[in-house]
């Protein structure tokens, strides 16, 4: 019986020990699971933060250019400074107050602390580039570290996360500078693409396109982001509009024989041969070709049968 009792005692002990280990293991597993889940939440919300801080950083660049009348030297550098520091050229940007990416990191870290975790996110690089004439992508590489306060577990990883932002609705920086902040035009995609002229409507649509300063994509034009640097080269993400000469000439007058295309007009570049359209005073269009050197602007806007 003594043997039985001894066996019972040993069995009970082993069972108790095993249960304690399992409990402990379960706690650790639960903790790791919580941290892992939190990390997933941070991942998801980081996209949100990139979008918001990125969106505002674009506004911040526009605001700075409009207020100073000076283009930025580097769109990427200016964007990163706003995104990570809330400043541009060392000056505070009002739209970035409490809206920088590090501000978000602080707030998320407060959440982490409540859960007994320490979160660190250090931004390595932030880049902004086009993925489409109408979309810019904010791409961020950051080093992320999450640890339990009791050192139960920790994660360290480098993450590359991006978020896309539509450029529709943002200001065209060229107007801010070339009209001394007097005329504001926002990127607004044309509704007449492929239908600028027709036998039925004649030139009604293209005239409305010009009157409303709508934008169309054309690879012979610079992209939206290039406008922040006052660059005029062709881009595969190029977009352009026609300036209303009567509207802008009080602020920026060019010779009559200057194309109405914004990238050419702002430079008062008269080196292009321009054509007129009948009964359309002031309007001039050049036939600069696209990025690939194949299609010209007159064809892009379906004006071949209307120019004189």
């Amino acid at each position: 019986m003594a043997i039985s009792l001894l066996g019972i005692i040993l069995f009970s002990y082993s069972m108790t020990y095993s249960y304690t280990l399992q409990e402990r293991s379960s706690v650790i597993e639960s903790r790791v699971d919580s941290m892992n889940r939190f990390l997933g939440e941070v991942d998801d919300d980081m996209r949100n933060a990139i979008y918001i801080a990125g969106f505002r950083a674009i506004i911040g660049m526009e605001d700075e250019i409009a207020n100073t009348g000076v283009f930025v030297d580097s769109t990427s550098s200016a964007f990163m400074e706003l995104f990570t520091n809330g400043t541009i050229s060392g000056r505070n940007s009002s739209v970035m107050v409490n809206n920088t990416f590090p501000y978000w990191v602080d707030r998320i870290n407060q959440q982490a602390m409540r859960l007994g975790m320490n979160l660190s996110i250090i931004v390595d690089t932030v880049n902004i580039s086009h993925v489409d004439p109408w979309i810019v992508r904010v791409d961020m590489i950051a080093n992320l570290s999450l640890s339990d306060i009791q050192s139960t577990a920790n994660w360290t990883q480098q993450k590359e996360i991006y978020e896309d932002i539509s450029v529709v609705g943002f200001e065209d920086p060229w107007y801010a500078v070339y009209t001394g902040n007097s005329i504001v035009k926002r990127i607004n995609t044309t509704v007449y693409d492929g239908n600028f002229t027709s036998v039925q409507t004649n030139t009604t649509n293209i005239r409305d396109h010009v009157a409303k300063t709508l934008y169309s994509n054309f690879t012979g034009a610079p992209s939206f982001l290039m406008r922040f640097e006052n660059r005029f080269e062709k881009s595969i993400y190029g977009i352009e509009s026609f300036v209303d000469k009567a509207e802008v000439s009080p602020f920026h007058a060019c010779p009559t024989e200057t194309s109405s295309i914004d990238s050419i007009y702002w430079l008062c570049n008269t080196s292009f041969v321009v054509k007129q359209v009948q009964n359309w005073s002031g309007f001039r269009i050049d036939n600069q070709t696209d990025f690939y050197g194949s299609d010209g602007r007159i064809g892009r806007y379906m004006l071949a049968g209307y120019v004189i």
Binding site: V42, D45, Y103, G180
Partner: protein, 648 residues
Amino acid sequence: MTLKDILGMDDKKALFFTVDALIASLIMIAGLILITSSYISEQPRSLINHMSQDLLNVLAEQKVHEANNSFIQDLVNNGSITDVNNSILVQLGEFWAGNQLVLANQFISNVSQGILDEIFGYSIAIDNETIFSEATPVKNSLVSSKKIISGIQKSKPVKGFVAKARATSVQKITNQIVSFSPEGSGWDGSSTSKAYGYITKWFNITPGIKINNATLYLSFHIEDGGSDWTVVNINNGTCNITRNSLGMTEEGYFGSRNVTACLKNGSNNFFVTLWNDDYNAHLHPGMYLAINYNTTEDVSYIASEHRERIYFDNIRSVEANNDGSGVWALMPFHVPAGATNVSATLRLNLQDVNDLKDRYLVGWSYQYRDAWDFRIYVNSDTVFYQRNATSYDDIDDCLSYSAACGSNYNWTGSFNITGAVVTGTNIVSVYVNNYGDTVGGDGVTSIYSNPVSDPANSSYLELNYSLTPSLPYSVVEIRQLKSFGGTPNPTKNVNFSFPPEAVAISSVYTHIAEQYSYITRVYGDDAYVPANLVFESPAPRAVPTDVVIPNNFLDVSELARNYIRIAETSGNDVRQESSVDYGFYLPSSVGYGQVFATLSEANADAISRLQSVMGSFVNVSTVELDNTSMSDVPSLWGPAVIEVRVWN
């Protein structure tokens, strides 16, 4: 021998051990059952855990447009839902942030229906505020899952508006200065045969402005005795200032008159009559008109190309008693630092110039010099141009009562003086039959000018230059006037600061007021003692009323104090009526501000900020706004913590 014998046990003991073994076995079995049952109880909790996480994931991943039912469609149609690409959770968060709790409850109730089995109860809360909860009581386990969403916060706009504003027209209070520079003159004559000097100045007051106050500072050298005459006639007799009304005690006079009621919108003129019994009568530095006025004006760019035509006053010197006539005038003009492509042309229309040759007596020195018809000086004591006489009449002929003078002629011509132009204040001096304190003219010698009715034939200086604007956008210029104050002294200082609203300096002038002048120096600086010499008379008595202080010697910041010093080297006093006329720019626009829930709030904020940057100098009630706004601007509110609880 039995077992009992061997072990030494009796039957009772055997029974005890048997029962003991049985009890032990029961304990073991019971323990095993308990242990097993305890593990089994964990399984439902794990299931609930998955349920809560799954529910959270579904709500986070599912888009509003994917929850296709009539209730959602109604919300889209009535504008409660503006972005059908939002996830269910984000949309729920937007309703919560907008304090639409009833709608949030209905929305989440609708879209979460049927996701969980009926045996489970669940609730959804944001930042510990319950949005939806099923009435099912918690019977057993309750598991919570959370999700953080940035950009959402209670009572904060999820996507809002930012606005900026630009004034296109403003009503402002500012000052305008109309200066008379030293010029003359009326020569000798007598009380019975007066030799007058007549000066006519035309100037324009912008139509539509409201003059609050106009003060005419008078500074001249005229006869203080004898019979009375009208010295200043404003706007053809609208107001007259007589010599006797001045209360003169000596020939050099300085005083002021309120002439507000004498002025009118449009073209105005001052007709000044100068006379001296035994010397020449002329204007001294410090004669100017200061107009304080309200005006409504369109906001405009700072021009980069400057083209300015500055007309001479019409100056006539009338001979009497064959004592001769002669005119002279100082014409100051200013070229700002940084100006490029500077060009300056002087055009003169001189009338009744006496053709003289011979010599003239220099002042009281009893020394004679060769005479000339007219001379021009530009920023120097060295002659820029001199027209020599062609006849052989003796200058003294004109000064005698019997001899004939040389014949008179009119002369019109232009000079390119660009090469002699300097940055800062420039002075062109023109002398016609006027040789220091001697004259040789005959009849009515004059520098002709009539910018109102005969501008093309007038005498003027045309100045052109390019200057990169200090600010690249439209601005409102305000000009303020501050007197030096105190008492007359050969050296006088003034300090001034720009207001906090000023974003750049437009231009700063000092107006020199002296009863008698000789060589005057002006200094400007943003520190005391002002050390930068900005002007020195190029010749004795070449003291203009206006001297420009280059902007680079001044500091626009509100905390900075700027200093100007006027020093008269002769020991004569600089008067306390000397003033500084400082101009600065106010911004006419404000950039984006905070994010607001509505466009009207964003616009109101932009207007308020615009009012703030323009300060009290501009009447904001008349600002015309051309504001633009940007919608759908997100903010890094929160993060909000969305909690899903599931129980059974």
